[in-house]
Amino acid sequence: MGLEATLVPRIVEAMDKKPRIPVIWLHGLECTCCSESFIRSSHPVAQDVVLNMISLDYDDTLQAAAGFQVEEIRKRIMKEYAGEYLLAVEGNAPTRDGGVYCTVGGDTFLNILVETAEKAKAVVAWGSCASNGCVQAARPNPTGAKPVKDLIPHRAVINVPGCPPIAEVMTGVLTYILTFGTLPELDRQGRPKMFYGQRIHDKCYRRPFFDAGQFVEAWDDEGARKGWCLYKMGCRGPSTYNSCSTFKWNNGVSFPIGSGHGCIGCSEENFWDNGPFYQRLSNVVVPGIESTPDQIGKTLTVLAGAGVAAHFGSYMVRRGINAAKKEKPVPSAPEKEGGDQ
């Protein structure tokens, strides 16, 4: 978390003594990969977070209870702990046709989200769905899915993007809020700076190969075996803000680039629409035309060249006609005829 060592006792004390924060964890349009990631956290261990740090009062995926009683609990927490509870949102809400494409307990998720966010102390958007739309908001976005920040524009939202976010990043955000009672410092896109402050590229262990100019050209070439940079295979590390190259995944076992596959930029806005994943340039600039910026550029360049050639050709033809017309009378200044009409 980028904190001084002297602050460690404070974190320990917070974990030991601070009252547990009530948390309402909502699930909208999502795949539950954020929850899957969360329960695999090792520092701190997820069980510890759920049992000792927070009071997970409502989570329709993890809780044992079901039905009316559960919705009752959510309403009670909202009333009894107004302004104190933390709202964690996994997934986002479809907005088309009144939000009917995602309903929970007989109400649209859109309504539930707006209602629950009203009196929350803070809103945490788990994952790329909640932070920036992810797959269900990718073109053509049939259900009109929108990220949480667009649905509750008056509330500050902590975006924790990733598909899913790294487990330790998720528990780290909760630990920070519990310890200091405030939100972590956020960047322009509402992401905690301590986890999303730098690109994967800038801390990638393959970076020396990038600077040297040594790139994998095919998945089975010499460079791939030697672990060279995956830039030419479409790796999104240079434009992706996340902690994968520092924290890695699954208790530090590995991360995509470490396993020989480029980053697909899952924590970046529009990452589904920025494909194909396996080429450096994509078709995003002019949607609908399957062209990369360089293909468009080359076409325009050829057109400009053709235009110039056509112009010069027609000029020469006209010059020839003029010269033929004036053949006999004055042979004085033939080179000035172009502009002399």
Binding site: P208, A212, F215, Y231, P293, D294, G305, E335, G339
Partner: protein
């Protein structure tokens, strides 16, 4: 109005007048822009499609790093040259601002149509001491417009290597504006090709006009002087 008819006020046998049109800062900025844009375009292409594949240990090479270094250095040089030219737009002589698109003036539109007709071989063209309206529009769209586009997207991408640094504070907002770093990369690429398109058109038109009008247009970007005949247009002023 910005366009006047010129008269050669010398001895009857003297056919041409000569005037100092492009001041030194304008000419310097032109050539610095040319050199830096050339370096930027070539290194930019290399950064997109790195072709050299050095063998051996990465510690022995710095090919991509060097290309990026040249790209960034050329970018900073272009920025200074560009900003200096913007300053000179205000401080220079009237020819330094003659390319400004005066879209609210009928005379500007007349000059634009006249020039377009001249290039379509439909009418006789006019020599202008400053920029003609069509040329000025080209420079505004391709050099000023694309220039700002490249400066902002380029600096935003450059700032990513130093989060929270000077350039991040100044231009970091560009990244969310375009919908993420990757999209800024894509637009930066597309804008770059605009400069090549411009270079083709610019060089052709300069050669063509220089040949057609024989007014020293080509050499004027080195010497600063242009020649005119009785009746040529002096498109010099943007203050009526």
């Amino acid at each position: 109005m910005g366009t006047r008819t010129l008269h050669v006020e010398h001895l009857p046998e003297q056919r041409y007048g000569r005037r100092y049109v492009w001041q030194l800062p304008v000419r310097l900025s032109h050539w610095i822009n040319f050199l830096s844009l050339l370096a930027l375009f070539l290194t930019g292409l290399y950064i997109t499609f790195p072709q050299l594949a050095p063998a051996g240990e990465p510690s022995q090479h710095f090919v991509m790093g060097r290309m990026r270094q040249i790209h960034f250095a050329a970018g900073q040089i272009f920025l200074v040259s560009f900003l200096w030219r913007v300053y000179w737009f205000w401080m220079g002589n009237n020819y330094a601002r003659s390319g400004f698109p005066f879209v609210w003036r009928a005379a500007w539109w007349r000059d634009l149509v006249r020039q377009a007709m001249a290039y379509l071989h439909l009418r006789r063209g006019n020599v202008h001491l400053g920029h003609n309206a069509l040329g000025g529009l080209m420079y505004t769209v391709f050099v000023i417009g694309l220039g700002w586009g490249q400066i902002f997207t380029g600096l935003a991408l450059y700032s990513e290597s130093n989060p929270g640094g000077f350039w991040d504070h100044l231009t970091g907002w560009v990244i969310p504006l375009f919908g993420g770093s990757f999209r800024v990369h894509m637009w930066h690429h597309l804008f770059a090709w605009g400069f090549l398109v411009f270079a083709i058109l610019h060089i052709y038109v300069v050669l063509f006009d220089s040949h057609q009008y024989r007014n020293g247009l080509l050499s004027s970007i080195v010497s600063g002087f242009k020649f005119y005949e009785e009746g040529d247009l002096d498109h010099d002023s943007w203050v009526s």
